[in-house]
């Protein structure tokens, strides 16, 4: 109830700053050397660490540019861009195309900024180390209910899923399950709100299976091989491991001005091979397609 009220206030505040920002940007656009303006970034929380790091570095190079970044869910990114609230909408999928559950956002351009690998994970008590795409589909749709059916011990499978709307869920469904549907109910099925909750659930629930960004995987769980391919950075880069996606910055049309410069900075070799790698994302230039 409060959020609506605050949202309205926040929206007007952001709208005002964007308006003023664009005015000042137009004034100084001629003086190309001194870039200035205001960039508002909203969207995916998975990409937020990357955005914040890039914003800090970019502000040092261009002191006159103001960047404000915040995150909620993936879908809020392209939405905010469509409404004109944000200049950049960070999104875990290409929002200019249809994905399961979400319609495409017309007129938006997807700018690739990073490669995000995902892994299917189980509690460390599960004795299964490898699953095929078919087996994953059967488990996440609820057809296979016991670990012994896929070569494990006789125990019921506990499926942990992200809530509908999660970017990780969209990507896992498209890349690991080939678009097959998730189960929606069952005695041993639950949904969690965030990657952090997923981590806790998998670590503490015996016989559980779930999925998350590769960077969240800890030693207290098992990252499964999918079709005999281990989820490692090397396997993503050499193209064997298929369960990864690009992280995108959505913009309204082709980016211009400070927004363009910022996206170019994030895509630059210096940033991609430096800070981006340190944050455990994979540079987009590493992919050979």
């Amino acid at each position: 109830m409060k959020s609506k009220f605050f949202k309205n206030i926040a929206f007007t505040a952001i709208a005002l700053t964007v308006a003023f920002g664009s005015i000042s940007m137009a004034n100084i656009a001629d003086a190309a050397s001194k870039l200035s303006g205001k960039i508002v970034i909203n969207g995916s929380s998975a990409l937020l660490p990357l955005t914040l790091q890039a914003a800090n570095e970019f502000k040092k190079l261009n002191p006159k540019v103001k960047i404000s970044a915040s995150a909620a869910g993936s879908v809020t990114g392209p939405q905010a861009v469509r409404k004109g609230i944000a200049d950049i909408g960070a999104c875990d999928w290409d929002a200019s195309l249809d994905v399961p559950g979400f319609k495409k956002f017309d007129g938006q351009v997807a700018n690739k900024v990073a490669v995000i690998p995902f892994a299917a994970v189980t509690n460390s008590n599960v004795k299964v180390a490898n699953l095929s795409t078919k087996q994953l589909q059967d488990i996440f749709s609820g057809k296979v209910k016991n670990w012994k059916e896929v070569g494990g011990s006789d125990a019921e499978i506990v499926v942990v899923n992200r809530a509908f709307g999660s970017g990780t869920r969209v990507n896992f469904q498209m890349k690991a399950l080939d678009g097959a549907d998730f189960m929606t109910k069952g005695d041993n099925y639950k949904e969690v709100k965030s990657s952090g909750d997923m981590k806790t659930a998998i670590e503490t629930t015996p016989n559980s299976i779930g999925y998350m960004d590769l960077v969240y995987v800890t030693s207290k769980m098992t990252a499964l091989k999918i079709n005999d391919i281990a989820p490692t950075e090397a396997n993503v880069i050499n193209g064997k491991y298929k369960v990864w996606s690009y992280g995108y910055y959505m913009t309204k049309g082709q980016p211009t001005g400070a927004t363009k410069a910022f996206i170019e900075y994030v895509q630059s070799k210096a940033f991609q091979n430096g800070s981006l790698k340190k944050l455990k994302f994979i540079p987009i230039s590493a992919m050979k397609n």
Binding site: K4, A155, S166, T184, K185, N188, K190, K193, D197, T205
Partner: protein
């Protein structure tokens, strides 16, 4: 509150003003200044009161206005009585969550009310004074613990424990949530019940003992009935807290849109479903409106409870 206080003999405005009138002129004499302060203070008080009411009504208005848009695409009957919640397929039946909220609250009250009343009786009737002065602050501190702490402990300690004790493979569900909520509302209910029992006049007990009843009979037949309205008040406050609780519940309930027909089946309630989905919802969609409608429902439920509390209080004063 809004009337100016009657002039007292000591600080009569007229007298003070005229006796201390400054020599420099009429404009800023003390009398005028005082009356200006008094009047502006009154205005500020009224404005603050209006502001609070305004907040309440804007919240109600915004929630209601956005929520009501749900019914453009979903019929009220489907919303309230269908148990199919699948935003990806445009199915918005909130019955599971409404049922879940009431079932969870009922279960919580079933566990917490008897426990709280026993604790309160112990505190008010049997504890020596030194223990009382220690226990009461402890209870008050418990009320102030943030709910996310309860939720986190529930997820990391209670659920594995339930799994071991019952042999279920998950442990998430109504029972886990009810236990966490019980621990949360226990201090609230027992402290207020405690106050209600202490407020029962000593003469009731004396009369009861004089008639030859035992301590147990006195407590059960005389003291508790006399404190009835206070206990009801405590229970409703506890219910209010249980219904609106979000963070603790979302961590232990399993968040699956299915009807809670077993104690250990992952399910979802109004609050947990809103917090799970609101950050991923497209702005202008029936899905968004349905979530607002669920929030509006919660608001209405808690308003009804506050009205009930007021009614009970008034009745308590009369008797």
């Amino acid at each position: 509150m809004l009337q100016t206080p009657p002039p007292s003999p000591v600080s009569n405005g007229v007298e003070l003003g005229s006796s201390l009138k400054s020599s420099s002129g009429q404009a800023f004499d003390r009398k005028k200044r005082l009356s200006f302060y008094n009047r502006s203070f009154k205005v500020i008080c009224i404005a603050s009161a209006i502001f609070v009411c305004l907040i309440l009504f804007t919240i109600l208005f915004f929630m209601g206005r956005t929520g009501i848009l749900t019914f453009d695409t979903v019929s009220p009957f489907t919303f309230f009585f269908s148990s199919e919640w699948a935003p990806e397929n445009d199915q918005y039946g909130a019955f599971i969550f409404i049922f879940g909220t009431f079932a969870l609250t009922f279960l919580t009250m079933l566990i917490s009310v008897p426990l709280s009343v026993i604790i309160a009786v112990f505190l008010a009737e049997m504890t020596p004074t030194w223990l009382k002065t220690m226990l009461r602050p402890v209870m008050d501190l418990l009320v102030g613990i943030p709910s996310v702490v309860y939720g986190f402990l529930g997820m990391t300690i209670l659920i594995p424990l339930l799994r071991d004790l019952t042999g279920t493979s998950m442990g998430d569900g109504l029972l886990a949530a009810a236990i966490v909520l019980t621990i949360m509302v226990l201090p609230t209910i027992s402290r207020i019940t405690d106050d209600a029992i202490v407020a029962v006049p000593k003469k009731y007990r004396d009369a009861s003992y004089a008639l030859g009843s035992t301590r147990f009979q006195t407590i059960v037949r005389v003291v508790l009935p006399a404190a009835k309205s206070g206990i009801m008040y405590a229970v409703i406050l506890g219910m209010g807290r249980a219904i609106g609780e979000t963070m603790a519940v979302v961590m232990v309930i399993g968040n699956t849109p299915q009807l809670a027909d077993e104690l250990f089946k992952p399910t979802s309630v109004l609050t947990s479903n809103i917090v799970m989905q609101i950050s991923n919802v497209p702005f202008d969609s029936s899905w968004n409106y349905a979530l607002y409608m669920m929030g509006f429902l919660l608001l209405i439920i808690s308003l009804v409870m506050i009205v009930l509390v007021r009614l009970i209080q008034r009745k308590g004063v009369k008797s």
